[in-house]
């Protein structure tokens, strides 16, 4: 391959989902582009790939092929190497002033559900499997005396439970055990990926009634 041809190679890596606030979406907003020819690279980055017309929040599922076509149209002999997604999503949010109070109300609501949900889950579990009775039996079997319901077993169980939850979630407030993402962060990412996948697959479907092949 000669040097001149090599210069025309454009590497394109589009992100799966990009949130934008502007109506004109340029290639540099949604993708990382590399080309050894600086001026071609600048022209690629400045390509307008979509103009959003509607004024409301919406997710647009886009195909990478028109983008490759547009880059190819910038000059002759341009080779585009797509390293990223074949379909990508532009998540348009109209620019709005941040509604801090509302944000914190929502956060407080989820905090309340998290706290009560956690408390409820462990209480239903304890009741379901009758932990107090089991501990009473165990106490009688080992110590040989009747349990008064407040023994070393209940205390150490509570400490162990706290430790277990902390180890599982990997952090408390700002303190963190290691650099791994926490389980909820992992679940959040999985959930978002599922959403993106569903959006892309829904948009790509041409058939009307076939649901399962």
């Amino acid at each position: 391959m000669s040097g001149a041809e090599k210069d025309r190679q454009v590497y394109l890596k589009i992100s799966q989902i990009t949130q934008v606030n502007k109506k004109d979406v340029y290639l540099k907003d949604v993708a990382t582009v590399y080309c050894s020819d600086q001026s071609l690279l600048n022209r690629c980055n400045a390509l307008k790939i979509k103009t959003i017309r509607e004024d409301k929040q919406k997710r647009y599922v886009e195909d990478v092929v028109p983008v490759i076509e547009k880059i190819g149209g910038l000059g002759s002999g341009i080779q585009v190497q797509n390293l990223g997604e074949a379909d990508y999503i532009i998540d348009y949010r109209p620019p709005a002033p941040p509604r801090l109070v509302w944000q914190w109300i929502k956060t407080a609501f989820v905090c309340l559900v998290s706290f009560c949900g956690g408390a409820f889950a462990i209480m239903t579990f304890n009741n379901d499997v009758d932990v107090p009775k089991l501990f009473g039996d165990l106490y009688r079997l080992t110590v040989g005396a009747e349990s008064d319901g407040f023994t070393v077993l209940e205390i150490s169980y509570s400490i162990g439970l706290g430790l277990g939850i902390l180890v599982f979630f990997n952090h408390f407030l700002k303190w963190k055990m290691n650099a791994d993402p926490t389980p909820l962060e992992v679940e959040m990412r999985t959930y978002e990926e599922d959403i993106c996948k569903t959006l892309i697959e829904d948009a790509g479907r041409k058939e009307r009634e076939v649901d399962v092949q």
Binding site: V110, F120, A145, S158
Partner: protein
């Protein structure tokens, strides 16, 4: 009556039991998808750590209250208000939980395919929600669980 070996055994046993139960119950909570959905719907992903802190705190406090029967003598109105908020939040939580479970088992998609449902999925969801609310009220009103 305490021998130190027995005491040590019980302490070790309790500690291990707590750790394993915590892992099981809370891994289930994280995986079932209630929290990601709530966080996604409210668009508050940047507070994920805060939510986890609250789940941890809820688990610990709930267990202490449940096991040791710690009284919280608030009396009359404040107690009712607390219970109102607790009940509401637990209701939202359980509502999400049961639907997450149903969704994991693909109940709705299967029914939709079987009867070739084309329109009105939202009414089916609404019917499920109303049915659950009515069923729950009837359950407590008639005291079905107390028998």
């Amino acid at each position: 009556m305490y021998s130190s070996a027995k005491l040590l055994f019980l302490a070790f046993f309790g500690l291990s039991a707590g750790g394993v139960i915590a892992a099981g119950v809370f891994a289930f909570l994280a995986v079932i998808g209630v929290y990601p959905r709530l966080i996604g719907k409210t668009g508050t992903k940047k507070h994920v750590r805060l939510y986890e802190t609250f789940i941890v705190a809820g688990g610990i406090v709930g267990n202490l209250v449940n096991l040791f029967g710690i009284p919280a003598p608030l009396g009359g109105m404040p107690a009712k208000l607390l219970l109102f908020f607790f009940g509401g939040a637990v209701g939202v939580f359980v509502g999400c939980l049961v639907m997450s479970l149903a969704e994991t088992l693909n109940a709705l998609p299967v029914i939709t395919r079987r009867i070739r449902l084309a329109v009105g999925l939202q009414y089916i969801i609404l019917a499920v929600a109303l049915g659950k609310a009515a069923g729950s009220l009837y359950y407590f009103w008639q005291g079905i669980g107390n028998g």
